[in-house]
């Protein structure tokens, strides 16, 4: 089966049709995706900004609380994003920007995790080494990239098998 036939088959499944045609499914999924993005990317940006050197009065351990917020955001974003993808697989998976979004996401989470592991044990005014701060800077950039790529998905697709 070709890729395109697979996409077409997914788009004829009950769940895919439900995502596209139910009166409330699509708006609800978009709202859930936007709100959870706030938790996941917002938390990630806070951790990165602190590691870069902003808000130095904030103890690193205080930032630990953002980790479950990010986890919940990530969970809700995955579920809502998965369903949105089920609605329009051909539209998303033929768009290189979609791959870029996940590249940025992996980099943002990977770099963020590295920064968090290296900073969570620090107390008081202990500083971070330069490599960790660079990683934090790049993770901030990657979060911006995830959001930008995600938003551009609505404008860059070339193929729609269904509408």
């Amino acid at each position: 089966m070709s890729m395109m036939q697979l996409f077409a088959q997914i788009e004829q499944s009950d769940i895919s049709i439900w995502v596209r045609e139910s009166l409330w499914a699509f708006p609800t999924l978009l709202v859930a995706h936007a709100v959870s993005m706030g938790g996941l990317a917002g938390g990630g940006m806070i951790l990165a900004l602190r590691a870069i050197g902003f808000a130095q009065g904030v103890p690193y351990r205080a930032l630990g609380w953002f980790v479950p917020v990010m986890a919940w955001g990530g969970f809700v974003a995955s579920v809502s994003g998965g369903l949105l993808l089920a609605g329009y697989p051909a539209k998303a998976l033929t768009n290189p920007v979609f791959a870029l979004k996940f590249l940025f996401l992996a980099a943002a989470i990977g770099l963020g995790r590295f920064v968090w592991v290296r900073s969570r044990g620090l107390v008081g005014g202990a500083g971070l080494s330069a490599d960790v701060r660079w990683a934090a800077g790049f993770s901030l950039l990657m979060w911006v990239g995830v959001i930008a790529a995600g938003r551009f998905l609505a404008y860059t697709h070339r193929l729609l098998l269904v509408s």
Binding site: P27, L30, V31, A34, V35, M37, G38, G39, A41, G42, G43, G44, M45, I46, L49, R50, F54, A55, G57, V58, P59, R61, A62, G64, W65, F66, V69, W143, V144, I147, A148, G150, R151, F152, A154, Y155
Partner: protein
């Protein structure tokens, strides 16, 4: 067409046109770029203020409230980005916002959030932020935190729902009978 006695969306769009905003927003990447800025601002606002709200509601008590409060500027910066980018959307398609029920609810949620901010900083912020880490948070402050979280999440939700309405002028609830 009915006459709007309060707002003049055409004049607003004309302003956008004259200043070049309309042209920029309707260029190939104008609108998508500003939407991207708007979503980044949204994340900064919810990430910083939402976490502070949850702490003040009583979650994660191991974190000093005052320490989290030092990150509120990130949320303020996000809000500023969104006033800027949101303003560009609004002036470029004023009628699509003014008569849109999702926008009206979004504006209401922003108003509630704004009043809530003023209430917090004028009546309780000093007391709440200077308290010891073990100090119980006053009930009033928990309520303010809950109102803040719900109203900002409402702003996001109603904002995301904006695009599901393409309001015609006759959706104007406050306009007189057609002339």
């Amino acid at each position: 067409m009915r006459h709007d006695p309060i707002f003049d969306p055409d004049a607003i769009v004309r302003f956008a046109y004259d200043t070049g905003i309309f042209g920029f927003m309707n260029s190939k990447w104008g609108w998508p770029v500003m939407e991207t800025v708007h979503f980044i601002g949204l994340s900064m606002l919810i990430g910083a203020v939402g976490a502070f709200d949850l702490r003040m509601m009583g979650f994660a008590r191991a974190i000093p409230l005052a320490a989290l409060h030092r990150l509120v500027w990130v949320g303020v910066a996000g809000f500023a980005l969104n006033i800027f980018s949101g303003g560009l959307f609004f002036v470029s398609a004023a009628g699509q916002y003014l008569y849109n029920p999702a926008f009206q609810l979004k504006a209401l949620a922003m108003l509630i959030a704004g009043i809530n901010v003023v209430v917090f900083y004028t009546t309780m912020s000093k007391q709440v932020l200077s308290g010891a880490i073990e100090a119980p948070i006053p009930a009033a402050a928990r309520v303010v935190a809950g109102v803040s979280l719900i109203s900002w999440l409402g702003v996001v939700a109603f904002g995301r729902l904006l695009t599901f309405f393409r309001p015609p002028y006759d959706w104007c609830a406050w306009c007189g009978a057609g002339g």
